[in-house]
Amino acid sequence: MRYEAPETAEGAAALLAATADARILAGGTDLLVQMRSDVVDPALIVDIKGITETRRVTEEKGGWRVGAAVTGAELKEHPQLKKVWPGVIEAANLIGSTQVQGRATLGGNLCNGSPAADSVPALIAGGAVATLAGPQGLRDLPVEDVMLGPRKLALRKGEIVVSFWLPPRPPRSSDAYLRFIPRTEMDIAVVGVGVSLAIDETGMITAARVGLGAVAPRVLLVREAAAAIVGTRLDRAAQDQLEAAVRAVCAPIDDKRGTVEFRIQVAGVLARRAALIALDRARTN
């Protein structure tokens, strides 16, 4: 098994394009487990942490660019991000233990291709755009278009996610992420919902996005759910419509951690609660 740690995205793309059985290493919290359990046995590991752009957080075009290999612990400690994107940060910090937080990354969480990835609904709600680098150069893809299904990504041969761009935040906007797990910590989402919204001076919702995880083969952007609350003050009728819109797109699995009926019910409840938290945060922003 070869190991390479290129210092440029072009270098990583060339290595990945030239090797049939290569895997990308960011934090390793999924890859090393898969290697250990013989799920994967790559011929080449390409560590992307040596690429500067994957490891930094910078302001860009009024928003924030976050490297794909920045860890959860680093995100939490960033002085401004937590204030501007509390939902994204709380979602990233729900992944695993303190030890896992020291390694786990946003890029890895997305590219592991799990429908239950906690940070992905929050990134989708936030309108995050992934910047990919590949043999043909750079391209941008909205996060909701990166994942196609379990373990299936829209990345082309040789492409890596280098960073995410989170758009500028207007005044009176915020976000929130909630998930349900059968215990209080260290578990994988049965349902996860991210909501991002903005309000005007009167408290009317002017824009919203809802990301929904763990209840379909991939994480979904639920436009109908956003439409249900835009133009409202999130009164009870709007909350009911939000819940109904979220439940309408759920197509969950049925297992011992949550039945289909339970997951659909909880998805609506979490969407309402996450929207109320985002609204409360937006009022004080």
């Binding site: 098994m1 070869r2 190991y3 740690a5 290493l25 934090g27 390793g28 919290t29 090393l32 487990v33 290697m35 250990r36 359990s37 590991i45 560590d47 942490k49 860890t71 612990a73 695993g96 233990s97 303190t98 030890q99 896992v100 020291g102 390694r103 910590e185 260290m186």
Partner: protein, 158 residues
């Protein structure tokens, strides 16, 4: 494929070793450097028995490749006591009987030390969440939380 030649710092000492790509930092620590204080419980990042710090950041050494640590600073349980002089956390774990079989203890001590460097006066809830990635099947955790709080108080008094 030739082995990787890695130079790093472990508990303040410069070390160099050879490793295969698939060897984890835990494999290197235990089998090559013979630092067997870090334990392998699950090898999947769930139990925390292999906890070490990497450039000051708490990680599971079973989820780090040996070839990733070139030029980095690693701290393990072996670096915690200064000769015969136990770290306050180690003393308090003994005093409060915060261990029984002891397999999880190095991981708990390394993780608790990282917590107290980050938060000198953690609440019970903060301790329990910080240590959620360290599993103990003997103590029921209460004695560990008590020991960490007591050690924190000792350290705050200097």
């Amino acid at each position: 494929m030739a082995k990787h030649h890695i130079e790093a710092t472990v508990n303040g000492d410069a070390v160099e070793f050879l490793c295969e790509t698939e060897e984890t930092l835990l494999d290197v620590l235990r089998d090559t450097l013979h630092l067997t204080g870090s334990k392998e419980g699950c090898a999947s990042g769930d139990c925390g028995a292999c906890s070490v710090t990497l450039d000051g950041r708490l990680v599971c050494s079973c989820l780090v490749l040996g070839c990733e640590v070139g030029g980095r600073r690693i701290e393990t349980i072996e670096g915690m006591a200064k000769g015969e002089d136990l770290h306050p956390l180690q003393r308090k774990f003994l005093e409060h009987a915060a261990l029984q079989c002891g397999i999880c203890t190095p991981g708990f001590l390394v993780a608790s030390k990282a917590l107290l460097e980050h938060n000198a006066n953690p609440s019970d809830t903060e301790i329990r969440y910080w240590l959620a990635g360290n599993l103990c099947r003997c103590t029921g955790y209460d004695k560990i939380v008590t020991a960490v709080k007591d050690a924190a108080e000792t350290l705050r008094k200097g």
